[in-house]
């Protein structure tokens, strides 16, 4: 009897677990599981380690910003994700497959390199169709072109003019359009805002946010904090081939013990008296020196008025004294010990 009861209990348990697995897995996949899984990736070039044990998971429909200076390994990591490079150790899985092995999964990835790498003697449309043909989706690409043109605000020039006659803005739009030709789920953008003026950068942010609305997952490499602040669902702080910190912008800001930054800028190198005056006001704060500027990271905004008073006594050459909320720039500096700009 006891044995019999135990048997029933085992069967029931098995049935429950099986049912839970069958029904929960698609939901689990859709909601919790990861689109990209980067497992302990190591990449070396000529014996030099560029990526050193990188682990990361990225969900669908997420915008992840890789933040780091040149040489931090952002571009290399992106090239491995798009399947152009192969890691020396570890692996990258996109939809469960390694992109540098599986051509199939490359059809789900769109790569927007920093240099446009477009063919000058073709029109934007021909470049678009050229890359669509490499994916073998020319017919589908033609059908989705109107929608892409709407998102990117592309005009007739796309069909009529050769790329070599394009302005910078036209090239950037074409560069994005080309990588959307095969309707990828994942867009990997390498420094898309480098060299753009503020207006162009804002319009690019707008495009990226519209693409997010379309359900795209995006990985964006940048060394500009504004990009991360505006676009990132999560920021990955990279430094010397490693991931130093991961989190939302707010999480990263909250991860350091300061809330405000006070910038004090002088016209010339401040002397000992000035330094003494500053130090006397902010024992609890962290002080950074950047050229003729001192940045105080603090939680106490009241020191601003004290500082102003003391400094006006000792330094007639004070250019700026202002307080602001702590930024990603400050966070990055505190995490890595280096400044990005």
């Amino acid at each position: 009897m006891l044995i019999n009861k135990s048997k029933i209990s085992c069967s029931t348990l098995f049935l429950r677990v099986f049912t839970w697995y069958i029904f929960s897995n698609p939901i689990r996949y859709m909601v919790y599981d990861y689109m990209i899984r980067i497992e302990n990736v190591v990449k070396k070039f000529n014996g030099e380690t560029v990526l050193n044990g990188v682990n990361l998971e990225i969900r669908e429909r997420e915008i992840v910003v890789l933040l780091g200076p040149n040489g931090s390994g952002k571009t290399t990591l992106m090239k491995i994700i798009v399947g152009v490079l192969r890691p020396n150790e570890g692996r990258v899985l996109v939809y469960g497959k390694e992109p540098y092995v599986s051509l199939e999964v490359k059809g789900k990835i769109g790569y927007i390199p920093q240099e446009p790498l477009l063919f000058d003697n073709l029109t934007g449309y021909e470049n678009y169709m050229f890359y669509a043909s490499l994916h073998g989706v020319e017919k589908e690409a033609k059908e989705r072109l109107e929608n892409i043109k709407k998102i990117l605000d592309i005009g007739e020039w796309f069909h009529k003019k050769l790329v070599k006659t394009y302005s910078g803005g036209m090239i950037r739009k074409t560069n994005i359009a080309v990588s959307l030709s095969h309707d990828p789920q994942l867009l990997v953008m390498d420094e898309p805002t480098v060299g753009l003026d503020p207006n162009a950068r804002r319009s690019l942010w707008d495009i990226i946010l519209r693409l997010k609305e379309q359900g795209k997952t995006m990985i964006i490499a940048t060394h500009l904090f504004e990009d991360a602040e505006v676009l990132a669902d999560r920021v990955i702080v990279m430094y010397k081939g490693r991931i130093s910190r991961v989190g939302t912008v707010e999480e990263l800001k909250n991860s350091i013990p300061y809330k405000f930054a006070i910038e004090i800028e002088f016209a010339a190198e401040p002397d000992g008296k000035i330094l003494e005056a500053i130090k006397s006001c902010c024992d609890e704060s962290k002080m950074l020196k950047i050229g003729f500027t001192y940045r105080l990271l603090t939680n106490d905004l009241s020191i601003v008025s004290t500082l102003e008073k003391k400094l006006s006594d000792v330094s007639p050459r004070l250019l700026k004294l202002e307080a602001r909320r702590i930024s990603l720039d400050d966070v990055y500096f505190l995490i890595t010990g280096v400044r990005l700009k």
């Binding site: 152009v84 199939e104 240099e115 073709l122 050229f130």
Partner: protein
């Protein structure tokens, strides 16, 4: 798995790019046409109705030792008669009298720099020698020790023969007029001495034939098996067309191919291309096909221009089996040149270096490989390059079959060697490409 449709699309777009590139259009279309026109104009035999070869006219500078009336009169007589002599419509001599302020040394310098072929020096007693001794007296300066011995001999013999003839005519003339004088008084002489009759009779015969005692008829005989220049001209142009097409293979295939593939890597297009579903072999096949089409297009335009514009002819009929073989051999030539070009580009991996190395290979082998000048005109030491150069082997096989009408079976050996080399080189090139493509991306 190779996707043919994708390769087709890739080829289509790459050809579009090539057609829109002005430099590519120039080097693939305009340049071979200019080169062909230039070579045909310079070296092809002239069409019917035009004189192709003219006899040599010997330039003579008559240098009188003194400017007195007698010597100048003699110089002018020489000049007048020399300039009137022709052979088959070509003047034998182009004579002129040296200017008063030119000395003998300056005249000889003009001989040395080939302004004149001969300097005819008339000494101050030349007129007296002719007048009183019936002797032609002159010095003839001719250039000796040049590489062209035939020319030297021709100059010397022509002028000395002319002067000997002149001496003969002076003698005959004087003899004739003296004989006439004797014969006009022959009746008186015979009355006085009748035994002189046979001598007078002989004198009459001699005088009658003194100006015309030769009956030589020159009859032109054509050499056996040699056609007229006008007849062979279309086939020579055909030979030149094939030559230009192969030169184009060397420029476009080796030089263009090497720089294109290295620039493809240098500009990092591969990064973006290989982030798509494209696999490296598909791209390589597409590049090879694009290049073959591009070279074939250039060849067809050259051929059409040669036939329609310049009148080139071939011994092959359009729909014969040999024509098909020739077309296939042309394709082999294109693939061979592309393989050489791509191998250079892949090994060097820099557009600039690839251009330099390809030029270093193309120019000497083109000069020594019998592409610019026919193989048989090359020095023996250089001809060996033409004998072993695979593109040269192919070109000569095609030339002999399509312009000389030789059967293709005569050239089986060079054809087999060239085809085997082409296949081997293409295989090596593909292996290098596949091996290096990942390394390129890692740079």
């Amino acid at each position: 798995m190779i996707r043919l449709k994708t390769i087709g699309s890739l080829v289509k777009y790459m050809l579009k790019m090539s057609i829109r590139s002005k430099s590519s259009l120039f080097w693939n279309i305009v340049f071979p046409i200019i080169l062909l026109t230039f070579i045909v104009m310079l070296f092809a035999p002239k069409p019917a109705g035009q004189t192709t070869l003219t006899g040599k006219t010997i330039n003579v500078l008559i240098y009188p030792e003194t400017r007195d009336n007698d010597t100048m009169f003699l110089a002018e007589i020489y000049m007048k008669y020399m300039n009137n002599l022709t052979f088959d419509g070509t003047r034998l001599f182009e004579a002129e009298i040296a200017d008063e302020n030119i000395n003998l040394n300056a005249s000889l310098d003009m001989l040395r720099n080939k302004t004149y072929d001969v300097v005819l020096f008339l000494p101050k007693d030349a007129m007296d020698a002719m007048r009183y001794n019936m002797t032609v007296k002159a010095k003839v300066y001719v250039l000796k020790g040049t590489p062209n011995i035939v020319d030297e001999q021709l100059n010397e013999l022509s002028i000395t023969n002319y002067l000997r003839e002149t001496g003969y005519y002076v003698l005959i003339g004087n003899y004739y007029y003296t004989s006439q004088e004797i014969l006009s008084n022959s009746s008186k002489i015979l009355q006085a001495e009748p035994r002189l009759y046979p001598i007078i009779k002989m004198l009459e015969t001699l005088t009658e034939h003194s100006w015309n005692n030769t009956q030589i008829e020159v009859i032109d005989v054509k050499p056996k098996g040699v056609r007229s220049e006008a007849e062979i001209r279309p086939y020579v142009i055909g030979w030149m067309v094939i030559s230009i097409i192969f030169m184009q293979y060397m420029f476009g295939g080796i030089l263009g191919g090497s720089t294109t593939i290295s620039s493809f890597f240098e500009k990092r297009y591969l990064e973006r291309i290989f982030s798509t579903k494209m696999n490296p072999l598909e791209l390589f096949i597409a590049l090879i096909i694009t290049w073959i089409i591009s070279l074939s297009l250039s060849s067809v335009i050259c051929l059409a221009y040669g036939i329609i514009g310049l009148g080139a002819r071939f011994t092959l009929s359009v729909f014969s089996l040999e024509t098909l073989y020739v077309v296939l051999l042309m394709l082999v030539g294109a693939v061979l040149s592309i393989s050489i070009g791509f191998t250079i580009g892949l090994l060097v991996r820099s557009t600039e270096a690839a251009g330099i190395i390809a030029n270093l290979i193309v120019w000497p082998t083109m000069m020594a490989g019998g592409f610019w000048v026919p193989k048989f005109m090359l020095p023996e030491s250089v001809r060996i390059i033409a004998e072993i150069h695979p593109l040269s082997m192919l070109m000569y096989a095609i030339t002999y079959v399509s312009t000389y009408g030789h059967p293709i079976t005569m050239y089986i050996e060079p054809i087999v060697i060239s085809v085997a080399l082409t296949i081997t080189l293409l295989f090596i090139c593909t292996q290098i490409y596949l091996r290096y493509v990942s390394r390129f991306l890692e740079r």
